[in-house]
């Protein structure tokens, strides 16, 4: 069942309340007019199609829901997503997919700075470029970038993996290029497939890319532990005080 909601007539509170009280179905949201916190806290397998651009934190903490935005998104798209799918046809501002624990975020356009910051298991596929400090302190999950990555990619990265097809302006602290294994290629193929839209639909083919064209970046793991010297022990070994 599809329910149409016009945000010029209904408050954000009413919309989110309905989404929280619904177990299933499809909602079409008209006139989002850049609303913040739209479709946040969904914990059921509902589908929300937003016709227009959204503000901050759209689909925040999404769990099992599907949120599709035909437009652009403000800061913190799908922040802390747990599972499900969040997809936008346009560009996302800063911190898209921040701290996401699971699920898939697809941005057909570009993503701004700090895309995938502190990600904890989410998969993010960006059709265009990502801004500086993307995958900052990224802990787990995959960030796939079909375009270029700006400066300090993967700064202080943990176990997340970053695939970039285009140019990387610079890598951040402790982030290095890694060898792509067959397992990585499988992961990449799976994500590209999951992110692609079927032929004949809006933006079809946006995500088409060959896994072999990508390079892989991850942690050098040099910052995982403090380096602690012990001169006393060395002195004792030499019989010195």
């Amino acid at each position: 069942m599809t329910t149409s909601i016009d945000l010029s007539q209904v408050t954000l509170r009413e919309l989110n309340k309905r989404l929280h009280e619904t177990d299933e179905g499809r909602f079409v949201v008209r006139n989002p007019r850049g609303a913040h916190a739209l479709a946040v806290g969904i914990t059921t397998p509902v589908t929300v199609d937003v016709e227009g651009s959204v503000g901050y934190f759209c689909a925040g903490m999404n769990m099992t829901g599907t949120v599709r935005v035909d437009g652009n998104a403000g800061t913190g798209l799908a922040e802390n997503i747990m599972s499900g799918l969040v997809r936008i046809t346009g560009n996302a501002t800063m911190s898209a997919g921040a701290t996401g624990h699971g699920g898939l975020v697809v941005i057909e356009g570009n993503a701004g700075a700090r895309c995938g910051i502190s990600m904890k298991g989410v998969d993010i596929v960006v059709g265009g470029n990502v801004g500086h400090m993307s995958a900052f302190m990224a802990q787990a999950g995959n960030l796939v970038v079909l375009g270029d990555a700006d400066h300090d990619l993967g700064d202080s990265i943990y176990e997340a993996e970053v695939f970039v097809r285009g140019k990387v302006a610079s890598l951040g602290s402790d982030c290095v290029e890694k060898e792509m294994t067959p397992q990585h290629l499988d992961t990449l193929s799976r994500l590209l497939e999951a992110a692609a839209l079927p032929a004949g639909t809006m933006s079809a083919g946006t995500m088409s890319a060959e896994p072999g064209d990508f390079r892989l970046y991850g942690s050098a793991r040099e910052l995982y532990n403090f380096h602690v010297d012990d001169v006393d022990a060395a002195a004792a070994a030499k019989g010195k005080p």
Binding site: N80, T99, K120
Partner: protein, 438 residues
């Protein structure tokens, strides 16, 4: 004079602690990381006294007349405001830095006393949720273990911008405490020296925070209050901005506030004392016309009912305890002196919360050590301690003629030092002089 003494004169500039630290630094090449809070001498609430009743002020009977202590946070905005029996809460401390037994003990003690406890930088555990009637869920930059289910299980959400021990620093948990369960809850490899983010990943500045608070309220359907916690750095401005962002309560944590693990240089040299921070936050609340409506929770070095009463008299609505609560449940117990000494410390001095080898079973993840702490008995000790603080608070409030502790006011106080008079903006005892005001 005995000439011998001059050969043993300790340098004020290079005392034994300074020498030990230089030697430690020269051996290891890494800054000192430790727990506890600031250990240096600072202006404190001890530098204030209550005036008590007199010809013009009537006291209440100490044992008979009612002196209420209850507090409601978030009324008017949250569907389920936080209702506390006493204005003394337990501060955020993570599972990970503390053992599951210690978290349970804090929950038991706080619940028995009718107050709240708080999660920390490691998510919410079933144990602490189960044993805490009122649980505040911290929303930290790291977002370890953050999820909408736990968010909705919380009785309040505390957006942590900073903490008193390290305004501007993120959490820290040394590898020896990152066991399998802790690592899994935080999505990190086991055994790493975890340094949490110090900035929130998806908002910067007060305008963003306002939208973030709306998002959190929307996720939990406006059910529970939202607190904002800041380290005492610029409390006047931070309080103004937190009010503007829509917080129901502001927690201001002074530099005496404790930590599980932080650089010593950070603990001792960043932030301002609690005594100096509270009046600045109150000034912001009053200027914006929301004093006693948006609640102020003062934290950092609160030890006694006198501290609680003085913080409230200066305009706070409640206080929060961390270090004192750990001591109440058994930290630095003299009975463990020998074991502390084996670790190079002694009862009364132990501060190595980062090390994970706490003989009291509190700041550890070692199952054998943690099992030494009996959560039921430790919880009883905490409940007793909170009761004493409350009785002391009421004693002081009655002596000043107040039928509710929130009626305490700066007029009830005098300062013993010029510094305290200037910071607290109460007159120097025996004068009408408030430095800077006249």
């Amino acid at each position: 004079m005995n000439q011998q003494q001059w050969h043993h004169r300790e340098s004020y500039t290079f005392d034994r602690n300074v020498i030990a630290e230089i030697r430690r630094a020269a051996n290891t090449g890494i800054y000192r990381i430790r727990g506890w809070g600031a250990k240096r001498e600072l202006p404190t609430f001890d530098d204030l006294v209550f005036l008590g009743a007199s010809m013009s002020r009537y006291p209440l009977e100490g044992y008979r007349e009612a002196c209420a202590t209850d507090l409601v946070i978030g009324e008017g905005r949250a569907e389920r405001p936080v209702r506390l029996a006493i204005p003394i809460t337990i501060a955020g401390m993570s599972f990970g830095s503390l053992s599951a037994q210690a978290k349970e003990a804090l929950g038991r003690g706080a619940t028995a006393a009718g107050t709240s406890t708080t999660t920390g930088d490691g998510g919410m555990t079933a144990e602490e949720r189960g044993h805490s009637e009122t649980l505040v869920y911290q929303y930290l930059p790291s977002r370890y273990g953050m999820n909408p289910d736990d968010l909705r299980r919380a009785d309040a959400i505390e957006v942590v911008v900073g903490q008193g021990a390290k305004p501007g620093g993120g959490g820290m948990l040394m590898g020896q405490k990152i066991n399998e369960r802790v690592a899994e809850m935080r999505t990190l490899p086991e055994g790493i020296d975890q340094r949490s983010a110090c900035r929130h990943p998806d908002w910067t500045g007060p305008d963003d925070l306002m939208i973030k608070i709306i998002e959190l309220r929307e996720i939990v359907d406006w059910q529970v209050p939202i607190y904002v916690k800041v380290g005492a750095a610029r409390p006047y401005y931070d309080t103004c901005l937190a009010i503007k962002a829509g917080a129901d309560a502001i927690v201001v944590d002074g530099m005496q506030g404790g930590t599980a693990a932080t650089q010593d240089v950070f603990i001792e040299h960043v932030g301002i004392p609690t005594l100096a921070a509270v009046p600045e936050s109150v000034r912001a609340l009053k200027e914006l016309g929301v004093h006693r409506e948006v609640k102020l929770i003062a934290a950092g070095g609160i030890r006694s009912g006198a501290d609680v009463a003085k913080a409230i008299a200066l305009g706070a609505d409640a206080v929060s305890l961390g270090t004192a609560a750990l001591i109440a449940i058994g930290d630095n117990d003299p009975a463990l002196d020998e074991q502390y000494r084996e670790l190079g410390s002694a009862a009364g001095f132990w501060e190595d919360f980062q090390a994970g080898n706490d003989p009291a079973g509190i700041t550890t993840q070692e199952p054998e050590l943690a099992s030494r702490l009996d959560p039921e008995l430790a919880g009883r000790r905490l409940a007793n301690y909170l009761q004493v603080l409350t009785l002391e608070l009421q004693t002081l409030a009655r002596a000043n003629g107040k039928s509710h502790v929130h009626n305490l006011e700066p007029e009830d106080l005098a300062a013993l030092t010029v510094e305290a008079a200037a910071m607290a903006r109460v007159p120097l005892a025996g004068t009408e002089w408030i430095p800077g005001d006249s």
